[in-house]
């Protein structure tokens, strides 16, 4: 599609541009929703920054974990280890790792500045599918995370992609995931208009996305995702996240109490 775009004589990857655009949009939406939920706008933006840092670190760590077996199997072919380490650090992210990192970043922020962690999570949760949706458009432009081969008009040729096969039409599963994420964003935004019990939105998001992702993985065709037994890494994580999401959704008070007893700081100066 369009892996790079030229701005002012310099080439920029569309993937990173889309991610940054999604994050910027997400921060704006969070800042707009914050006052009605008893948070300062700056708390929404700053906790979003912590989430972004967590997203980068978590996405990278899980990516390295998934790619480790491949690297180990081909260790004899590695002639320039320094260059490989550089490439590994700079390219490639796994969404689920980023999600866990982002949630950890928000929890860290809440703990550091004595805010109600679950309410903060519910403030920022609707933004996650928005960032993800825009990011998947970036994947489509880059030609990564592609789907199974299908005939046109449902299949697309990724002729400019660095990774996708050029000689076959592939299902644009990135766009499907983007559309579903936008739908999820709309649902969460709609449900988030009224005050809900703590953890409701996060639980709903985790449950719905785990189901969506589990199904979407069957449409994926890129082999570099990593797999174990008959399921991909993301499907295993979905299987783990679904009960966590349902637990948060149905037993949210228990979850909030569990967090408070185990992780929360002593002082709570949240405006809630």
């Amino acid at each position: 599609m369009l892996p790079f775009i030229e701005i002012g004589g310099r080439q920029f990857p569309m993937y990173s541009l889309c991610i940054l655009l999604g994050i910027a949009g997400g921060l704006v939406v969070s800042a707009m929703r914050a006052p009605k939920r008893g948070f300062l706008r700056e708390d929404a933006v700053f906790s979003g920054c912590y989430a972004c840092i967590g997203l980068m670190i978590g996405g990278k760590i899980l990516y390295l974990l998934t790619i480790l077996p491949t690297l180990w199997n081909h260790r004899d072919q590695i002639t320039e280890p320094l260059e490989l380490i550089q490439d590994l650090l700079l390219g490639g992210f796994v969404f689920y790792g980023g999600l866990c990192g982002a949630l950890a970043g928000i929890l860290l922020y809440a703990r550091q500045f004595h805010l109600d962690a679950f309410r903060l999570l519910d403030l920022l949760t609707p933004v996650i599918p928005l960032v993800h949706a825009v990011g998947r458009v970036g994947c489509f432009c880059a030609g990564c995370c592609y789907g199974r081969p299908v005939d046109p008009p449902f299949g697309v040729y990724f002729e400019a992609s660095l990774t996708a096969p050029h000689d076959m039409a592939l299902f644009p599963v990135q766009l499907l995931e983007s559309a579903l994420n936008l739908l999820l964003f709309g649902i969460l935004l709609f449900l988030g208009r009224k005050p809900r019990k703590k953890g409701t939105l996060l639980g709903l998001y985790l449950s719905l996305y785990a189901v969506l992702r589990f199904g979407l993985e069957f449409l994926r065709y890129d082999a570099e995702r990593g797999s174990f037994l008959f399921l991909s890494t993301s499907q295993w994580i979905s299987l783990f996240l679904l009960p966590v999401g349902l637990w948060l959704f149905f037993l949210r008070e228990d979850a909030a109490l569990f967090y408070k007893m185990n992780f929360e700081g002593k002082k709570n100066t949240s405006v809630n």
Binding site: M56, G92, T163
Partner: protein, 94 residues
């Protein structure tokens, strides 16, 4: 306490500026961008901590510059495909 907060704000400002400078060192390769991202992240955390403890213009400036540094460096580097291509290259050599 005041000195500590000011120290964090100054640190954030300095790291933000250094991070932005790193984004212009393209001749040093990807390492400069990576260093820029790390400096930006540390600067951002310091700036947020300083601003939450004692709001001041220097902390705000540090936060803004750190965010600019992260964006400038990340935009040049973060590619979904780079590493996959590299590993794919290794696999195809077999």
């Amino acid at each position: 306490m005041e000195n500590k907060t000011n120290g964090m704000a100054v640190g954030s400002l300095v790291l933000g500026i250094l991070g932005i400078l790193c984004s212009f060192f393209s001749f040093l390769g990807a390492v400069a961008y990576l260093v820029g991202i790390i400096l930006g992240i540390i600067g951002l955390i310091l700036g947020i901590s300083a601003k939450k403890q004692q709001p001041c213009g220097m902390a705000t400036a540090g936060i803004v510059l750190s965010i600019i540094a992260i964006v400038l460096c990340a935009i040049s580097l973060v590619a979904c495909v780079a590493c996959v291509a590299c590993v794919g290259g290794i696999a195809s050599e077999m």
